[in-house]
């Protein structure tokens, strides 16, 4: 087991042994702090530099990484908030990350609003990247520090742990990551109580059940409190619920707020990833006074965990590998589902044949105008014929554009999912494929300007997006089953690291 040069992207990348190893390392850091040895490792990361790139606000994650780096003798630099950086001039994630590598840094900690942006950053960077939160996707070091807190407060035990969840189980990253981390251990029970809208997502509940975790919904918070060792409260993620007002949330949270009456009489410790929203007050300020409150201790375990992680990742002599080259494979996606070329069918409606060009077919009904406007083919100097055949519902576009660019294809796919593309050369069909794009609307592969090639991998029976790891199912009926399974068989069976030249 080694954390050296490894990217920390998802909690699912960690095995049981690795989680326990980091817990033990984190406990060593806590022990050092208690015995006055805070700076006893001050030469461990001498001359190493951490770069923090925070596209979104953060208090704890950024400062605790910085504290860890400082106490290990390293330095840190970076940006917090995009104001004052070239991100304001529409610089892409790829270029910004490359610059951080060029600046002789040894590790990057990054937080970004798009799902999957951290896997992309890890692909682009030739130094280790740590995920400090990507959209509503993952925040692995938060999950690790939560596990460390439980491990330490329970005297080094994780098997048979009973955890309650409350607040917002649906829109946050922490509940998902922590429960998946705990699923490595035996006899884990999870109980939760929340309004349906904020409740545990179906897919997560299923995943946990698959991994042998007992998941139980309760109606009242006190029913949960009675039967758990830890109650993990979370903040309603208002910023990720467009159209929902604070007032709505207040009424949803009314009977699920945690106050002293909810914990009275039970031996339970309340955890919270923080911050607490002072308006909604999901935790009553008076709970801070009771011994049930353990979230300040939890926050301090964040420093120990991150310090331990940095020590594990960089605690040897380092080198900067930056040589200014990006691997060619970064530009290649594996999202083109090829179709067999058969003879063209005769259509009832007469349309001019094109000798060289492209046919974009099977567009979603009603999307034709938007697609043709976005492609703007005529202004680019190509012919453009649009039509909807009377016997079919789906419109198509015929153009003299010899080969559509990746950007063109993504533009079409954003407006009309899974378009069918035929390229024609010398009067014959030269290629026939379906362009696939991750269905998660917040995925980085869907942002045209970021220019991330959509890539998928096989995870047991499922196909997942390489970046946001959301499951993907091909819905296009224009592809035969054998074509589909041939494509799936050709996908990599895991997220393979990008190979750097030299």
């Amino acid at each position: 087991m080694s954390f050296r040069d490894r990217d920390i992207i998802s909690i699912t990348d960690f095995s049981r042994e690795e989680i326990l190893h980091l817990c033990q390392a984190g406990r060593v850091m806590a022990e050092l702090e208690k015995t006055g040895g805070r700076n006893s490792l001050r030469d461990a990361l001498k001359h190493r530099t951490l770069s923090y790139m925070f596209y979104e606000p953060s208090t704890r994650t950024r400062t605790s990484f910085n504290t860890g780096m400082r106490e290990l003798g390293g330095r840190y630099d970076g940006f917090s908030g995009t104001e004052g950086t070239s991100v304001m001039k529409s610089e892409t994630v790829r270029d910004t990350v490359t610059m951080m590598c060029a600046n002789h840094n040894d590790v990057i900690v990054m937080r970004h609003p798009l799902d999957g942006s951290l896997q992309w950053a890890a692909d682009v960077a030739n130094i280790p990247v740590i995920n400090g939160g990507d959209g509503k996707n993952e925040h692995p070091t938060q999950a690790l520090l939560d596990v460390l807190t439980i491990y330490a407060l329970k005297g080094g035990r994780l098997d048979g742990i009973r955890v309650g969840f409350g607040g917002d189980l649906s829109h946050g990253r922490t509940v998902r990551s922590l429960s998946l981390a705990l699923s490595h251990f035996d006899g884990v029970t999870i109980r939760w109580a929340a309004e349906d809208f904020l409740g545990m997502p179906q897919d997560l509940a299923g995943l946990l059940a698959e991994r042998g975790v007992r998941v139980q919904r309760e109606t009242a918070v006190r029913d949960v409190m009675r039967q758990v060792d830890f109650y993990y409260m979370t903040r309603p993620q208002l910023e990720r619920m467009p159209g929902v007002t604070q007032k709505d949330i207040m009424s949803m949270m009314k009977q699920y707020r945690i106050d002293t009456a909810k914990v009275e009489g039970f031996d339970v410790r309340v955890l919270h990833p923080l911050p607490v929203n002072s308006e909604i007050a999901e935790i009553d300020y008076r709970l801070y006074f009771t011994p049930a409150q353990a979230f300040f201790a939890q926050a301090e375990f964040g420093v120990f965990l991150r310090k331990a992680l940095l020590h594990e990742m960089l605690g040897h002599d380092g080198y900067c590998r930056y040589d200014g080259r990006l691997p060619a494979e970064l530009g290649i996606g594996n999202n083109r589902l090829p179709r067999r070329i058969r003879g063209a069918k005769q259509s009832a409606m007469f349309i001019d044949k094109i000798h060289d060009g492209t046919v974009i077919d099977h567009l979603a009904p009603g999307s034709l105008r938007a697609v043709s406007d976005a492609l703007d083919l005529e202004n680019r100097g190509y012919s453009c014929t649009t039509a909807t055949l009377p016997e079919k519902r789906n419109p198509f576009i015929k153009t003299s554009l010899p080969e559509p660019s990746e950007r063109d294809l993504k533009t079409v796919a954003l407006l009309s999912p899974e378009p069918t593309i035929d390229t024609i050369a010398g009067g014959r069909i030269s290629a026939k494929f379906v362009y696939l794009l991750c269905a998660n609307t917040n995925c980085i592969t869907r942002v045209v300007n970021e220019d991330v090639p959509p890539r998928f991998y096989r995870d047991n029976g499922a196909v997942r997006c390489r970046y946001c790891r959301r499951q993907y199912t091909v819905t296009s009926r224009k592809v035969s089953e054998e074509e589909k399974s041939a494509w799936v068989a050709g996908l990599p069976a895991r997220i393979e690291p990008v190979v750097y030249p030299g």
């Binding site: 002293t260 009456a261 009275e264 300020y285 008076r286 801070y288 006074f289 009771t290 011994p291 049930a292 409150q293 300040f296």
Partner: protein, 355 residues
């Protein structure tokens, strides 16, 4: 640690608590000193009564063999000769008589100086006598209280019968009268309970329009009770609500949370319990105001530390600021108080706060 605001009863109120009991609980709670309020029965308004109280307290402390410091306030009435006597008692008996107490609104006991004119006279006399000690004031303006709104069937109506406006107006009066008189002492607002009163008090830094530049700056302090920080009026809604009657009343949320924030951020000078025990019978049948605060004191201090308040700040609000303002030298022993004292009284208003 010092609790500068307790009511220890005894004498004609032995049924509520005795000096012996109160002082031993204070010591068990980890306190090094308590300052007792003068609304005993009979009240501590004359030299004779004060001396008698001191003798009895000394006898109790000697027999308990505890090195607790017992200080007391001399009560102020509207009678000029009595005010002079109280100041003389302070001069002779300081630090045993730690300061003076004035009730600017009626609470428990009959020693209110409720009219603004009478209060003005008090400040004038004190200034004339050159009184430089602490004048602790119970601030609730009598004319703004609404006794008609009090309905014993609904204990929570107590908060409406003694509205925030009464406290704010009274604090404003005291500050203005003290400034007008050029009061040389320290004006201490007891058990402050609303953020607005604190705002009015803070205006001490901004000189009022038309102020003469040579006017003496006024020294002002205030204290917060644990119950005004942690309990709220909503808790009085059920049948046991009568047990939480106190003056000034518990305020609705979010006022308590704001007061606690002000205690932590340094706008409030210290913690005082306003320990005022009654029997359950007195509370539920004669609607006596006051709750036993001493047992919770050590738990409150532990809670502050648990909630992340630094040790230095806790020393400030439990000891250092009190010694500095009163001009006392007392050792802070930082003893760990017994957190399990709730059983000493007939009810525990802080039952919901474990530890």
């Amino acid at each position: 640690m010092i609790d500068p605001h307790v009511h220890l009863r005894d004498w004609n109120q032995k049924g509520k608590e005795t000096l012996r009991h109160g002082l031993s609980v204070a010591w068990s709670a980890g306190l090094d000193a308590v300052f007792e309020m003068p609304n005993t029965d009979p009240p501590l308004t004359s030299r004779d009564v004060i001396l008698r109280r001191i003798d009895e307290a000394d006898a109790v402390l000697a027999s308990l063999r505890i090195p607790l410091f017992h200080g007391l306030y001399a009560g102020i009435t509207a009678v000029p000769a009595q005010i002079e006597e109280a100041v003389a008692a302070w001069r002779d008996l300081f630090p045993r008589v730690v300061g003076l107490k004035m009730y600017a609104g009626h609470s428990t006991g009959e020693m209110g100086v409720v009219e603004r004119e009478a209060q003005a006279v008090v400040y004038k006399i004190l200034t004339g006598l050159g009184y430089s000690g602490v004048l602790a004031v119970h601030c609730e303006k009598q004319s703004l209280l609404r006794p008609g709104d009090w309905n014993p069937q609904k204990p929570a109506s107590h908060a409406r019968a003694r509205p925030p406006a009464a406290e704010v107006a009274s604090v404003d009066d005291q500050r203005e009268l003290a400034l007008e008189a050029g009061f040389p002492g320290v004006l201490h607002v007891c058990h402050i309970s609303t953020p607005w009163a604190l705002d009015v008090l803070r205006a001490r830094h901004a000189p009022a329009a038309g102020d003469q530049p040579d006017r003496r700056p006024l020294r002002v302090t205030c204290g917060l009770t644990p119950h005004h920080a942690l309990l709220d009026a909503g808790m009085m809604a059920d049948a046991d609500g009568l047990l939480l009657l106190t003056n000034p009343p518990l305020r609705p949320l979010p006022m308590p949370s704001l007061m606690l924030e002000h205690l932590c951020d340094g706008s409030i000078d210290w913690i005082e319990t306003d320990h005022a025990p009654h029997t359950r019978r007195d509370k539920t049948q004669s609607f006596a105001c006051g709750i036993p605060g001493l047992p919770y004191y050590p738990r409150f201090v532990v809670g502050l530390a648990h909630a992340g308040v630094p040790g230095q700040r806790i020393d400030q609000i439990t000891h250092d600021a009190i010694c500095r303002v009163f001009g006392l030298t007392l050792e802070n022993r930082r003893r760990k108080g017994d957190t399990d004292l709730a059983g000493e009284y007939e009810f525990d208003p802080f039952a919901a706060f474990r530890g």
